[in-house]
């Protein structure tokens, strides 16, 4: 079931990306309209080193993993 779900999501992503251009959809947010998004406060991962530590704290104590957005490593779990 996991495999099916994963394949389904990947296929959706492929179709979505490849269909934008074919359907004639054009980028609707122009570069000059993105100054707010480029404000440093909008960078969720601006403190990479802190995010790596936060992810490590939870990885050692919870079972869930994947899509943390930072690299993994060993942990003092026991």
């Amino acid at each position: 079931m996991n495999a099916l779900l994963l394949k389904f999501l990947l296929i959706i992503a492929v179709l979505q990306l490849s269909s934008c251009a074919q359907m004639g959809v054009k980028p609707w947010v122009k570069p000059y309209e993105r100054q707010k998004l480029s404000d440093p406060i909008m960078n969720k991962n601006r403190h990479v080193i802190a995010n790596k530590h936060a992810a490590h704290v939870f990885e050692a104590r919870e079972s869930a993993r994947g899509v943390e957005g930072v690299g993994g490593g060993g942990c003092g779990c026991n």
């Binding site: 495999a3 980028p27 707010k36 779990c77």
Partner: protein, 387 residues
């Protein structure tokens, strides 16, 4: 000590990679700028549940030219543990873990390729890893697509037993799509599958079972985990620039694996600058998971089933995190050579509540001990310099 996890076991690797290749070719790939040079020095501390872990960490990023950047990361955990697991099975201990990694980023047009190698080393665990990521901006830079794979190789040892050596391997495959929706709103979906193979136990932990012939009323035996684990996680995320200068982030992550664990995580973060130099950050996170299908706090008898575990990390529990962070941008005239720098202090308070893991260190009839729970405080103090 790492307990690792895994991807859908029935998935054929060939068909999966064909999808990845198809995806990469269908993107009409066109993105990006390498991030600024930066150095971070961090002190971290975790205290809770009888554990005290602290140490330093360093991260350095430097561009060689406009297309290539190098990075180095070094991290130390000094662990002093008298946790409920340790007190139930052995004596308190101290140990140290060191982790290091080197990274290389290559920018070509709108595509960033990243390679990293890493190693984590402690007395009874050695983990080596390799990872590769591709990030590509397309559709007028409104869309970012990423793909990645990782491989990990672990040696599991047991202090006090020189003949004990087990191995495990980990494979990760991930992809994601992040989209600018409006001038103030973005959204993303990211997925990752993880496959683990080999010795996945914690070699020190035991399970307990009812034993009327024992004076204590129970006996103990070593945990037995399956040798494979396949897991899948999906994360939906969003970021929003509020009508005034402040940012709101949110994400939801769903996790499931072949051990029947399901988990839900939600997190909301609010960032608010004030004054010329301060940035305040507030965070609220919830997490809850179901138990592994071979977990039990108390088995009915010895060898009650093929696989046995009493790790609280595999039990049914939830936790809540409240976080507070404050960043101070240091005026240029106060810092060396006029470089941009900032100092940050972050504090997280986490409350863990276990629903079927009992505190056997307390004096109570077997199987009727109070359910376990604890609070932890996490501190991160760090300095960042941009140059």
């Amino acid at each position: 000590m790492v307990v690792i996890k895994r991807v859908p076991s029935k998935m054929k690797p060939l068909s999966f990679f064909m999808i990845i290749i198809l995806m990469a070719h269908s993107l009409n790939l066109h993105a990006a700028v390498l991030e600024a040079d930066k150095a971070d020095v961090l002190y971290h501390s975790y205290e809770g549940g009888g554990m005290k872990i602290d140490g330093p960490a360093f991260l350095l990023r430097k561009k060689v030219n406009e297309s290539i950047a190098l990075s180095a990361f070094y991290y130390v955990d000094t662990i002093s543990s008298a946790s409920v697991d340790v007190l139930s099975n052995a004596s308190p201990y101290t140990e140290e873990r060191q982790e290091g990694s080197l990274g290389l980023e290559y920018l070509h047009d709108k595509t960033v390729l990243s390679f990293a190698i890493g190693q984590s080393d402690e007395d009874d665990f050695l983990a080596k890893s390799l990872s590769f990521n591709l990030s590509h901006d397309t559709f007028g830079d409104l869309t970012n697509v990423n793909l990645g794979i990782s491989y990990g190789d672990n040696d599991v040892m047991r202090n006090g037993d020189e003949n004990f050596l087990e191995k495990s391997k980990q494979y990760r495959v991930r992809t994601g799509l992040n989209q600018i929706l409006t001038p103030t709103l973005t959204a993303g979906i990211n997925i990752e599958g993880v496959v683990d193979e080999g010795y996945l136990n914690n070699p020190y932990r035991t399970v307990r079972y009812l034993d009327p012939t024992s004076d204590a009323g129970f006996g103990s035996q070593t945990e037995v985990y399956p040798n494979t684990r396949n897991s899948f996680a999906v994360k939906l995320s969003t970021s929003y620039y509020l009508p005034y200068r402040a940012a709101l982030f949110g994400h939801y992550r769903y996790f499931t694996d072949s051990w029947d664990i399901e988990a839900h995580e939600m997190e909301v973060t609010y960032r608010h600058p004030f004054g010329e130099n301060f940035l305040l950050e507030l965070k609220y996170r919830t997490y809850q998971q179901t138990q592994a299908n071979f977990y039990s706090d108390l088995f009915s008898h010895k060898d009650a089933q093929n696989f046995l575990a009493r790790d609280k990390e595999l039990s049914d529990f939830d936790d809540v995190t409240i976080g507070l962070g404050l960043t101070y941008k240091i005026p240029k005239q106060f810092f060396f050579n006029g470089m941009i720098s900032e100092a940050t202090l972050q504090w997280d308070h986490i409350t863990f509540d276990y629903h079927n893991f009992r505190d056997r260190t307390l004096d109570a009839p077997i199987g009727e001990e109070p359910l376990y729970g604890f609070n932890a405080d996490v501190i991160r103090a760090f300095m960042s310099v941009y140059f």
